[in-house]
Symmetry: C2
Subunit: 179 residues, 2 copies
């Protein structure tokens, strides 16, 4: 993504935090991460991330998703004999459609990004509205998408090691590239 | 505390969450914990707690403190060979005065509850306003007090095991007693 795109996307994420009444510092504003996951289609595949803390033991973040924007299907496997990342998502603003293994939704509210449908394999639907949360056991396949207004979601987890994540879509690259 | 006191204190904590624009569910509203720490002086020693999640690995909570209300000095020691609880406090609303080991404040903003001064031994002052946060290593003595408006504070940590906490004040009892 270009520097201008990056700055614009950071601004949109900061605006969503403001709408959700989540106060962040100017320093935090400047290190909002824009993850486009290497597909170059941020409006459909990607998310905004602000990491509050990530120690050896604990991680806490805020995430933003635009309406219909998707964090693609992935899991957090065990690494070097340690159990994979455990995550709790708590919706703070808007709504989010979360998909996990289990009985598939007959009429899912979310829709994978066009052309990528085959890389979405779990279809048990959990709808999170403000105050709702869901805890994922390590190594559980999951993907999630912003609802009609988008979403601001808090994530409470064990240490984040993004480079260990396994995405179903082989075209995905976790590290962002700003050009 | 009486049932009426308990209900009134839960209501005040819920009101503070609402003021901080933190959305909680009716189920969560009903399980807000009122910790008076056995001293029977909740206006000065105590805090409101809503535990979002507490697994073997991760815990996330919201805490409330009234103006001048104090969570008394304590630490989280190692238990059964496992390192003690690690905590990050993030101020969401109001302000909080946090005290940890280190160079003592010349003119501290916080003040221990009357009659309990001798059970407050660490005086390095950290003032947290909305968006500010501080991470405590395990087994670090600490206490904190609500500023002039009180405070709403998010806590991100490893598993909470309150019964393992070591308080400096020998009169403190962690489990609340509602009569």
């Amino acid at each position: 993504m270009t520097k201008k795109e990056f700055a614009d996307r950071q601004r949109r994420t900061a605006d969503m935090f403001a709408r959700a009444h989540i106060v962040i510092t100017p320093e935090e504003r400047g290190r909002i991460e824009i993850a486009d996951l290497g597909l170059g289609d941020y409006e459909h595949t990607g998310l905004g991330i602000l990491v509050y803390v990530n120690t050896d033991r604990v991680c806490a973040k805020e995430l933003t998703l635009f309406a219909g924007q998707t964090c693609p299907e992935h899991r957090h496997p065990a690494v070097a004999g340690k159990p994979g990342k455990e995550e709790t998502f708590r919706c703070r603003w808007g709504s989010v459609y979360l998909y996990v293994p289990g009985a598939p939704a007959a009429r899912p509210l979310g829709k994978p990004p066009a052309g990528r449908e085959r890389t979405y394999t779990v279809w048990h639907e959990v709808v999170l509205k403000p105050g709702d949360q869901y805890t994922l056991a390590p190594d559980t396949l999951h993907w999630f998408q912003g609802g009609p207004e988008g979403a601001v979601v808090s994530e409470f987890s064990t240490r984040s090691t993004d480079e260990a994540d396994v995405f179903t879509d082989p075209d995905i690259r976790r590290a962002p590239e700003v050009t």
